[in-house]
C-alpha cells in the first residue's frame, strides 16, 4: 500500500510547527501505524534528515505512551485500539493521512508528535490514590467486595492515561481520565476514607492545569481506546457534590 502523510513537525516547545508531506510506499497492510512511521523514519535517517519524533514504548496497547491524532480521530479510525495497535489494513491504498499530536492547552508539544502529559501525573499526585503505607495493611480477604463493584472498579481502572479523551474533547477536558480514578476508588470500600478530599483535590488540580470542563458531548468515550464509560463522569460529579454538602 502507498500513502501520502501530512505530519506535524515542530522542533521544540518554543518553535512554531507546520505540516510536512511525506510518502510512505510499499506498506504492508499488516503493519501497525507506528511500524509504518518506522519505515518513513528509516528512509529519513538514510537521507540524513531529522526523523519524526513520536512517543511509543510497549507497542501492545497498554503503556499509554503512543497517541496520535490521525485524520481527525484520536488513535485513528478503529474503536478500542491505541495507535500502536492500529493496523494499516484499516486505511485505503493511496489515502492521504494527516498526523497531528494531541492538541490541548494542558498538553504542550515537546517535539513533532510528542506532547507533555505530566499534567495527568500532577492530577494523580494531588490525590488519586489510597493513602496507605507499606506494611500497614489488613489481610487481603478481610473486606469482601461485591463482584459487580469489583468489576466496575476494574472497568474504570483499565484507563491507560494516554490522553485521547482530552485531545478529542472540544473543551480539552480531563474529566474522563480523572473520573476513571475517582470512580475506581469510590467503588471500593478501601477508598472511602478519603473520598471527599480526593475528589476535591483532584478537581482543583485539574482546573489549575488548564483542562476544560465537561459539557456532555461524550466524544471521550467514543475515542477512548479502553472504552471507559462516561458513567464514571456521572459518579465523579456525584462524589464532588457529596463532598461539598455531606
Amino acid at each position: 500500500m502507498n500513502f501520502t502523510l501530512k505530519i506535524w513537525r515542530q522542533h521544540d516547545r518554543n518553535s512554531k510547527g507546520k505540516f510536512v508531506e511525506y510518502k510512505a510506499s510499499d506498506i504492508s497492510p499488516d503493519m501497525s501505524f507506528l511500524e509504518m512511521l518506522d519505515a518513513v523514519n528509516r528512509d529519513l535517517a538514510k537521507k540524513n534528515e531529522d526523523i519524526i519524533a513520536f512517543d511509543h514504548d510497549c507497542r501492545e496497547g497498554i503503556c499509554g505512551s503512543c497517541g496520535l491524532y490521525i485524520s481527525g480521530r484520536a488513535h485513528g479510525p478503529q474503536r478500542g485500539v491505541t495507535t500502536c495497535e492500529l493496523r494499516m489494513r484499516h486505511f485505503h491504498d493511496g489515502e492521504t493521512i494527516v498526523v497531528e499530536p494531541w492538541r490541548a492547552k494542558a498538553f504542550p508539544v515537546i517535539k513533532d508528535l510528542i506532547v507533555d502529559r505530566t499534567a495527568f501525573d500532577r492530577v494523580i499526585q494531588s490525590g488519586g490514590y489510597i493513602s496507605v503505607d507499606t506494611g500497614s495493611t489488613p489481610e487481603a480477604s478481610s473486606i469482601p467486595i461485591p463482584k459487580a463493584n469489583a468489576e466496575e472498579a476494574m472497568d474504570a481502572a483499565a484507563c491507560i492515561g494516554c490522553g485521547a479523551c482530552v485531545a478529542v474533547c472540544k473543551n480539552s477536558s480531563a474529566m474522563l481520565f480523572m473520573s476513571a480514578k475517582v470512580s475506581q476508588l469510590a467503588l471500593l470500600p478501601q477508598g472511602h476514607a478519603e473520598r471527599k478530599i480526593r475528589v476535591q483535590r483532584m478537581v482543583h488540580q485539574m482546573d489549575k492545569e488548564g483542562f476544560g470542563h465537561c459539557s456532555n458531548t461524550y466524544a471521550c468515550e467514543q475515542e477512548c481506546p479502553k472504552k471507559i464509560s462516561v458513567a464514571h463522569i456521572t459518579r465523579m460529579n456525584r462524589e464532588f457534590i457529596r463532598a461539598a454538602f455531606w
Binding site: 504492508s28 499488516d30 501497525s32 507506528l34 511500524e35 518506522d38 523514519n41 528509516r42 535517517a45 538514510k46 540524513n48 512517543d55 514504548d57 510497549c58 507497542r59 501492545e60 496497547g61 497498554i62 503503556c63 499509554g64 505512551s65 478500542g80 495497535e85 493496523r87 489494513r89 507533555d116 502529559r117 505530566t118 501525573d121 494523580i124 499526585q125 494531588s126 488519586g128 490514590y129 489510597i130 496507605v132 503505607d133 507499606t134 506494611g135 500497614s136 495493611t137 489488613p138 489481610e139 487481603a140 480477604s141 473486606i143 469482601p144 467486595i145 461485591p146 463482584k147 469489583a150 468489576e151 472498579a153 476494574m154 481502572a157 483499565a158 491507560i160 492515561g161 475506581q184 478501601q190
Partner: protein, 574 residues
C-alpha cells in the same frame, strides 16, 4: 574476589526473621539525612521509591518515560502468586518455595526464594489496600487461578491486566510521596553512567532526553530497577525503551553479571509474520489453562485446522506430560513447540507456529464464559492477525520474554559494588534458570516493598559517607567520557540505521543464543557480534592485509578513517 552471598544463619524458615533482627537500623530521625537514588519506576522501582520515602529517606526517582506509570511492568497480563491457600488445595509457603526452586532448574538461591515466598502474601494485602481491583468471587472474596506450571491455584489476577493494576497501585504510592516532597521525580531521563567514588556507588549520570543535557544525581546509595536485557534479541516482547543500558553501565563499573545466559522464551506469543515487525506480542499464558495445544500428526499438513479431524491431531503436551498437560512450565512448553516446528509439524504460512485451540472450552462453557475470561486477549489477537480465535485456533510461537540473569546481588540485594542495589528483573536472584508464571510481579514487588527498605538501612547505618558535590572529579570525568561517546556515536554517519544494526544483532542472538544453543553456534556468534560492532563503529576504514604464510589465512588490519573536512554522504553525480 570471593563472592559472599551473605545468607543468614539458621533454619530456612527463620533466616529472614533473624536477619531483620540482626541488621542495623537507621534511627527514624536520621533517615532524612540520607538520599537514595532509585533508577526505574516499574513495579520494583516504584514500590521501592515509595516505601523508602515512607520510611523517611530522601528519594530521587528517575525514569526513561515521561511518567512512572508507563514502565513495562504495565504489560504483564497473567497474575501474581501468593500462597494464601484460599482454594484449600494444599498450598503453602513451602510449596511455593519448592515449586520456584524446582521450576528454576535448581539454580536459584534457596534463602532468597524462601523469603520471596514468605513475603508474597503481604504483597497481596498491600495491593488490595491500595485499591487494586483483583478478580473476586460472587461472595466478594478474592479469586485465584492456576497458572503456568503450578498444580495449585495461587495466582491473583485483575483480568488480563494484572501488571497494569499492580503498577498503578505502586504508581499511586509513589505519586503520594512525590506530592509529599520526599520523592523528587525526574522523567525522560536515561541513566548513562554509574558514579563510584572511593569504592562506593554515590550517584548516576543521566541524560535529559528533552534537552540533551547530562545531569548528575548524587546519593548515599543507588538502586537500579531498570529491568532486563531481552531487547538484545531485537524481536522480544519487551517494550522499545527497555534497553538494558543502566545495568550494562553498572556492569562496566564493576558489578558482576549473574547468569547472563538465562533468558526466558515464553511459549504463548503471536508468531512473527514478516521482517518489518518491530516487536512480538505476548498473550498471557493463562490461555493455556483453557486452550489445548496441538499440531497436525502429519508433517507439512497445510489443511485448514477445522478440516483436520480429532484423530489426526497431536495434542503433544497432553501426550508427553499427562499430569501437567498444557500447563507445563514455560521452558518445557517452548522447547517442545520449537521441536515440533523444527520437525516440520509447524502450522501457518511460516511453519513457525502451533495451534492453541479453545473449541473444547467453548463447547463446554460457552463463548460468553471464554469472552469474560480472555476477551481482551482474543481482541488483541484479532487486531494483530485479523483472525477470529473464537472460530479458528490461535497460532502461537515462543518469543524472548524475560531475563532471569541480571546483575549479581547478595541476600541484601547489593551488588559487588558497595552501595549499589539491584531489584526486580534487573537482578539475577530468585528465578534460577527459568521463571515460573506470575512470579515476576511477585519478585518485583517483594524486592521493592518488603526487602530493600530493610536491607538498605543496614548499609547506610554502618557506612561512613564523605560529602560529595556535583563538581566532584568523578562526576566531571564521567561527563567527559559520556560526552565523547555520544559525539563518537553521532559522528559515525553510517549507511545503516541503528534499528537495522539492532535487527541484525537480534538475529545473531536468536539463531545462535536462543532456545537451542551449542558450542559451534555460540562460537560463531562470538565472531559475528564483534564484526557487527566494527561495522557500526568504523564504517570507513583502510583494509590492510597481512600475509601470514603459505596455506594460512591472511589477517585483516583496519585503519579507521576520520573525516574532519569532507562530510561523508551517499555519492551523487546528478
Amino acid at each position: 574476589m570471593v563472592l559472599n552471598s551473605k545468607i543468614p544463619e539458621g533454619p530456612i524458615q527463620q533466616k529472614w526473621d533473624n536477619h531483620r533482627f540482626n541488621i542495623k537500623l537507621v534511627n527514624a530521625a536520621n533517615k532524612r539525612k540520607y538520599t537514595i537514588v532509585v533508577v526505574g519506576t516499574g513495579l520494583a522501582g516504584s514500590s521501592a521509591a515509595a516505601s523508602l520515602a515512607e520510611l523517611g529517606y530522601n528519594v530521587i526517582s528517575l525514569c526513561y518515560h515521561e511518567s512512572p506509570r508507563r514502565a513495562h511492568s504495565i504489560a504483564a497480563q497473567g497474575g501474581i502468586n501468593a500462597p494464601k491457600n484460599y482454594k484449600n488445595d494444599g498450598d503453602s509457603i513451602w510449596r511455593l518455595f519448592y515449586d520456584t526452586v524446582k521450576g528454576g532448574d535448581y539454580r536459584a538461591r534457596e534463602a532468597n526464594v524462601y523469603r520471596l515466598a514468605q513475603v508474597s502474601g503481604n504483597i497481596i494485602d498491600q495491593c488490595v489496600a491500595q485499591g487494586v481491583p483483583f478478580g473476586r468471587e460472587y461472595g466478594g472474596l478474592l479469586d485465584n487461578r492456576s497458572f503456568g506450571g503450578a498444580q495449585v491455584s495461587r495466582t491473583f489476577y485483575a483480568r488480563g491486566q494484572t501488571g497494569q493494576q499492580l503498577l498503578l497501585g505502586a504508581y499511586g504510592a509513589l505519586s503520594r510521596q512525590i506530592n509529599s516532597g520526599r520523592v523528587k521525580f525526574f522523567g525522560r531521563r536515561e541513566m548513562l553512567d554509574l558514579i563510584v567514588i572511593e569504592g562506593q556507588a554515590r550517584g548516576i549520570l543521566a541524560r535529559n532526553m528533552e534537552t540533551g543535557a547530562l545531569e548528575s544525581y548524587i546519593g548515599d546509595a543507588v538502586v537500579l530497577a531498570t529491568g532486563g536485557y531481552g531487547n538484545t534479541f531485537y524481536l522480544a516482547t519487551m517494550a522499545k525503551y527497555s534497553n538494558g543500558t543502566a545495568i550494562w553501565k553498572a556492569h562496566k563499573k564493576g558489578a558482576f553479571f549473574g547468569n547472563p545466559c538465562f533468558t526466558q522464551i515464553h511459549p504463548t506469543c503471536i508468531p512473527l509474520s514478516s521482517d518489518y515487525q518491530s516487536k512480538l506480542t505476548l498473550m498471557s499464558e493463562s490461555l493455556r489453562n483453557d486452550g489445548r495445544i496441538w499440531v497436525p500428526k502429519k508433517a507439512g499438513d497445510k489443511r485448514n485446522p477445522k478440516d483436520i479431524p480429532e484423530e489426526e491431531r497431536d495434542y503433544y503436551l497432553e501426550r508427553l506430560y499427562p499430569s501437567f498437560g498444557n500447563l507445563v512450565p514455560r521452558d518445557v512448553a517452548s522447547r517442545r513447540a520449537k521441536e515440533m516446528c523444527d520437525k516440520g509439524f509447524g502450522v501457518g504460512s511460516t511453519g513457525l507456529a502451533v495451534y492453541l485451540d479453545f473449541a473444547d472450552t467453548i463447547k463446554r462453557n460457552g463463548k460468553e464464559w471464554v469472552e469474560e475470561k480472555y476477551g481482551n486477549l482474543f481482541d488483541m489477537y484479532h487486531e494483530i492477525t485479523a483472525e477470529n480465535a473464537y472460530e479458528t485456533p490461535m497460532r502461537i510461537y515462543p518469543a524472548v520474554h524475560y531475563t532471569m540473569g541480571g546483575l549479581w546481588v547478595d541476600y541484601n540485594l547489593m551488588t559487588t559494588i558497595p552501595g549499589l542495589y539491584v531489584i526486580g528483573e534487573a537482578n539475577f536472584s530468585d528465578h534460577g534458570a527459568n521463571r515460573l508464571g506470575a512470579s515476576a510481579l511477585m519478585q518485583g514487588l517483594a524486592d521493592g516493598y518488603f526487602v530493600i527498605p530493610y536491607t538498605i538501612g543496614d548499609y547506610l547505618a554502618s557506612t561512613k559517607f564523605p560529602q560529595i558535590k556535583p563538581d566532584h572529579p568523578a562526576f566531571k570525568e564521567a561527563e567527559r567520557n559520556i560526552q565523547e561517546l555520544i559525539k563518537k556515536l553521532l559522528s559515525i554517519k553510517g549507511k545503516q540505521t541503528v534499528d537495522e544494526i539492532h535487527k541484525r544483532l537480534g538475529k545473531v542472538m536468536y539463531d545462535h543464543c536462543g532456545m537451542a544453543r551449542n558450542e559451534a553456534g555460540l562460537k560463531k556468534a562470538l565472531q559475528l557480534i564483534p564484526q557487527l560492532r566494527e561495522e557500526f563503529e568504523k564504517f570507513a576504514y583502510v583494509a590492510a592485509w597481512e600475509y601470514k604464510g603459505n596455506g594460512l589465512n591472511w589477517e585483516l588490519h583496519k585503519e579507521p578513517l576520520a573525516f574532519e573536512y569532507v562530510k561523508p554522504s551517499t555519492r551523487s553525480y546528478k
